[in-house]
C-alpha cells in the first residue's frame, strides 16, 4: 500500500465518508455523551482505539475465517477490545469512566465499528485496514469533539471544562465566556439540533468547494466528473 492510498483513507474517514456526518452511524453515543468537549474527546478516542484494533485483527484473520461465522467473530473481537478499554479507563481515568458511565461498554454496539469490519477490513490488507480504522475513528472523534464543544459553549457558556478528567489534578472549571447558558443545548434536543447544524455545514462547505472548482475551470474543459480537467 502506498502512502498516497493511506492518506486517501484518512481523508475519506475524516471528511468524505465521515461515519457520523455522512454515514450517520454510531448516533446513540454521539447524541448522548457530547455534552462537553472532554466527554466527546474521551469517547471519541476510545472508539478510535477500538476501531483501529478491530480493523487490524479482522483484516489479519480474514483468510482463516469462513464467511458463515464472520459475524460472531467480529462480535467476539469487538466485545473483548471494548472490555479491555473499559478496564483501562477504570484504572487510569476513573472520573472520566464515571462521567461516561455505560457509554464505554456500549461502544460494542456502535455500528460504525462492525460496519468497517464487514465493509473494509474483511476485504483489505492489514495496513490499509489500520489506516481506514484510524481515519474513520478520527472522523468520529472530530465530530464528537465539535458537537461537544458547541453544546458546552451554548449550554454552559464555557469551553474545556473538567479538562482534569484527562490530564489529572484538581477539578478545572475551564474557560467561562458567558455566565450561564441556554440549557436546551445540553438537553437531548440540543444534540439533534447540533448534529443537524454540523451535517448542514458540511453540505454547504462541499457545495461551495465544488462551485469554486468549477468556476476556475475553462468552459471547454468543464465536465461532469472533472477528473482530467486542469487549470488553463
Amino acid at each position: 500500500m502506498t502512502t498516497g492510498e493511506s492518506i486517501e483513507q484518512l481523508r475519506a474517514g475524516l471528511w468524505k465518508d465521515n461515519p457520523g456526518l455522512v454515514q450517520l452511524l454510531g448516533l446513540c453515543p454521539l447524541l448522548a455523551v457530547t455534552t462537553t468537549f472532554v466527554n466527546g474527546l474521551a469517547l471519541g478516542f476510545a472508539t478510535l482505539v477500538v476501531l483501529a484494533c478491530s480493523n487490524v485483527l479482522v483484516s489479519a484473520t480474514r483468510r482463516w475465517i469462513r464467511p458463515e461465522i464472520r459475524i460472531p467473530i467480529y462480535v467476539l473481537i469487538i466485545a473483548s477490545l471494548v472490555t479491555c478499554i473499559e478496564l483501562m479507563f477504570k484504572a487510569w481515568f476513573p472520573s472520566l469512566d464515571r462521567s461516561l458511565g455505560i457509554f464505554i461498554p456500549l461502544i460494542v454496539t456502535n455500528c460504525a465499528i462492525v460496519a468497517r469490519a464487514e465493509v473494509f477490513a474483511s476485504r483489505n490488507p492489514v495496513g490499509a485496514s489500520l489506516a481506514d480504522g484510524i481515519g474513520m475513528g478520527a472522523g468520529f472523534t472530530l465530530l464528537l469533539v465539535t458537537i461537544g464543544a458547541f453544546r458546552e459553549l451554548i449550554g454552559q457558556g464555557s469551553i474545556l471544562s473538567r479538562l482534569d478528567m484527562i490530564l489529572g489534578g484538581d477539578p478545572m472549571a475551564g474557560i467561562t465566556l458567558i455566565d450561564g447558558g441556554w440549557l436546551l443545548a445540553i438537553l437531548p434536543p440540543g444534540a439533534f439540533f447540533s448534529l443537524a447544524l454540523a451535517v448542514a455545514a458540511k453540505n454547504v462547505i462541499d457545495r461551495r468547494r465544488e462551485a469554486a472548482r468549477r468556476a476556475h475551470m475553462p468552459r471547454n474543459l468543464r465536465r461532469a466528473d472533472g477528473a482530467t480537467a486542469t487549470r488553463a
Binding site: A32, I73, L76, L81, C84, L87, A91, G101, I102, F103
Partner: protein, 212 residues
C-alpha cells in the same frame, strides 16, 4: 456431505478466537485490577464525609471500618462494609456499603448513611449500570431523586410506605424506570431493618484491620 467438515473447521476457528479473546481480557484484568480497586476505595472514601452531613463525630471514619462477611441479612451476596462514626465515645452514625442485586442491569452499589437514632442521613449511588436517561437518574449527578431518602427512617414513612408511589408507597418513581427505584428502596429498607436489629452489636465490634 462436505458441510460436516466445514462445521468442525468453523467450530475450531470460533473456539480458538474465543480463547485468544478471553486471554486478552484476562491479561488486561490482571494488569488493571489493583489500580481499579484502589480507585474505587479512593472514591468511596471521598463520598463518606458528605454522606454524614449534619452529624458531628470525632476522628476519621475510615479507621472504624467493619467488614461483615457473607452470608448476612444485608442486601447483596458479597461481604458488606460498615463505617462507624462516634462522638465522645458514643455511637453517632453508621455508613453502609451494600449491593442491590436486583437492578435493571447489573448490581447497584449504594452508600447508605444512618444516624444512631435510625434516621437516614444520605444515600449515594457508588456504581451502577442502569439505562442512560431512565434508571441512571438514581445517580446524584443526573437527578436529585436519591435525596428524597434524607431524613427517612423505619417509621417514617411507616412499613407500607417503603415503595414507589405506583406500588402504593411514599417515594417518587422515575418515569420509564420502575425496576431500578424498587431495587434501591428495597436495599435501603433492608439496611434499616438490619441496623435496627444489630445496632448495639455494630457499634461495639472492633474495627476490621487491613488484610482481614
Amino acid at each position: 456431505m462436505k458441510s460436516a467438515q466445514g462445521i468442525f473447521a468453523s467450530a475450531a476457528t470460533l473456539t480458538l478466537i474465543a480463547a485468544i479473546c478471553t486471554a486478552l481480557v484476562a491479561a488486561t484484568y490482571q494488569l488493571t485490577t489493583s489500580r481499579i480497586s484502589a480507585n474505587q476505595q479512593a472514591f468511596l472514601e471521598q463520598s463518606l464525609e458528605p454522606a454524614l452531613s449534619g452529624v458531628s463525630y470525632d476522628g476519621s471514619i475510615t479507621a472504624s471500618k467493619l467488614v461483615i462477611p457473607a452470608p448476612h441479612e444485608l442486601p447483596g451476596s458479597d461481604a458488606a462494609v460498615v463505617y462507624r462514626a462516634y462522638a465522645e465515645g458514643r455511637p453517632a452514625a453508621a455508613l453502609f456499603v451494600v449491593t442491590a442485586r436486583d437492578g435493571y442491569s447489573g448490581p447497584i452499589r449504594l452508600l447508605i448513611g444512618i444516624r444512631a437514632d435510625g434516621v437516614v442521613t444520605a444515600v449515594r449511588v457508588l456504581e451502577h449500570r442502569e439505562t442512560p436517561g431512565l434508571g441512571d437518574r438514581i445517580d446524584l449527578s443526573r437527578s436529585d431523586w436519591v435525596k428524597q431518602f434524607d431524613g427517612s427512617s423505619m417509621i417514617n414513612p411507616n412499613f407500607g410506605g417503603w415503595a414507589i408511589k405506583r406500588d402504593g408507597g411514599e417515594f417518587d418513581q422515575l418515569t420509564g424506570a420502575s425496576i431500578t427505584p424498587r431495587a434501591v428502596i428495597k436495599a435501603i429498607s433492608e439496611t434499616l431493618v438490619y441496623f435496627d436489629a444489630h445496632r448495639d452489636e455494630l457499634f461495639s465490634l472492633p474495627a476490621t484491620g487491613e488484610g482481614q
